[in-house]
Amino acid sequence: MSDLIKSVEAPANENIPELFPGDAVSVHVKIREGNRERIQEFKGTILYVRNSGNNASFTVRRIASNGIGVERTFLTRSPRIDKVVVERHTKVRKARLYFLRSRTGKSARLKQKFS
């Protein structure tokens, strides 16, 4: 790709570590209410990570109240993301954890990976 294009694209956010599918993360998103800005957390498991430079994104799934699954895709280089905290890595054998969608409770657990 042209260097000129790369130079106008957004730089990588330094507050985002390398993410892997299965990670338990909390994403700190900046939310604007009127002219006030606050930070909202979105906690869940990463279903998949799409690494493609400027257009990189990752999807986080969390179980909201009443056991309803909520998935949210974030653009990794978006200025709206304040930071991402990885709480734990887990042992997974797939790059895309779509099987978690059909599981609830105990069967939706992932084994922690200690490095």
Binding site: M1, L4, V8, K30, L75, P79
Partner: protein
């Protein structure tokens, strides 16, 4: 003030606006352009400004081209294009850069679309084609009827049908300027523009507001 530039399409990407929204953007390396000639209605029958772009080696230009540019002591320029304009307030030898545009302004971008060669009516004009099943053979991408019956007994000229597609002058209207870099002569417009990467494009202020 004339708002027009000749440039080169660099390619597409996405950038983030201030509120964090992702904006699709095409990057154009435009200018600096030199005013190589002023055409007036008295002398030429119409008013226009001729701009030149892309400095090159003198040996790549013909003697006539070099002489035309030498009148105003301009460097050898690869491309010359005219912009119709009456109240431009420019004089020969002037320079135009991307600084004449502003962020948020609406522009039209003119380019030459990618050539597709000889194409059928389905791809070229979005004809429906024929049915796939019910005993059909060789009808899937056929254009169907193109004209009427014995009267007029022929197909009118200009009727849509298979033929050469692409490689046309195309104008993408009403594009918002989302990025300007005067130092590197870059201008970014929202959305796609015609032509391949590296293709020559003209940037003008929008015709329709």
């Amino acid at each position: 003030m004339l708002k027009g530039l000749i440039g080169k399409k660099i390619g597409m990407t996405q950038i983030f606006s201030e509120d964090g929204a992702a904006v699709p953007m095409t990057l154009i390396e435009a200018g600096p352009c030199y005013v190589t000639q002023i055409l007036t209605s008295e002398d030429d029958g119409y008013s226009a400004v001729q701009l030149g772009f892309s400095e090159s080696k003198p040996k790549r230009l013909t003697g006539g081209e070099l002489g035309h540019l030498k009148r105003n002591d301009l460097p050898p320029l690869k491309y010359l294009r005219e912009f119709r304009s009456k109240d431009h307030g420019m004089k020969e030898g002037d320079t135009i850069t991307v600084a004449t545009f502003e962020i948020g302004e609406l522009v039209d971008v003119i380019g030459t679309s990618k050539g597709k060669g000889f194409q059928g009516a389905v791809k070229r004009y979005h004809f429906k084609g024929g049915p796939k099943t019910h005993g059909q053979s060789d009808r899937l991408r056929a254009p169907g009827a193109r004209g009427a019956t014995t009267t007029p007994g022929r197909v009118f000229k200009g009727s849509r049908g298979p033929g050469h597609m692409g490689n046309d002058r195309v104008t993408a209207q009403h594009l918002k300027v989302v990025l300007l870099d005067a130092e590197r002569n870059l201008i970014g417009v929202r959305g796609a523009i015609p032509g391949p990467k590296g293709g020559l494009v003209l940037v003008k202020s929008a015709r329709k507001v």
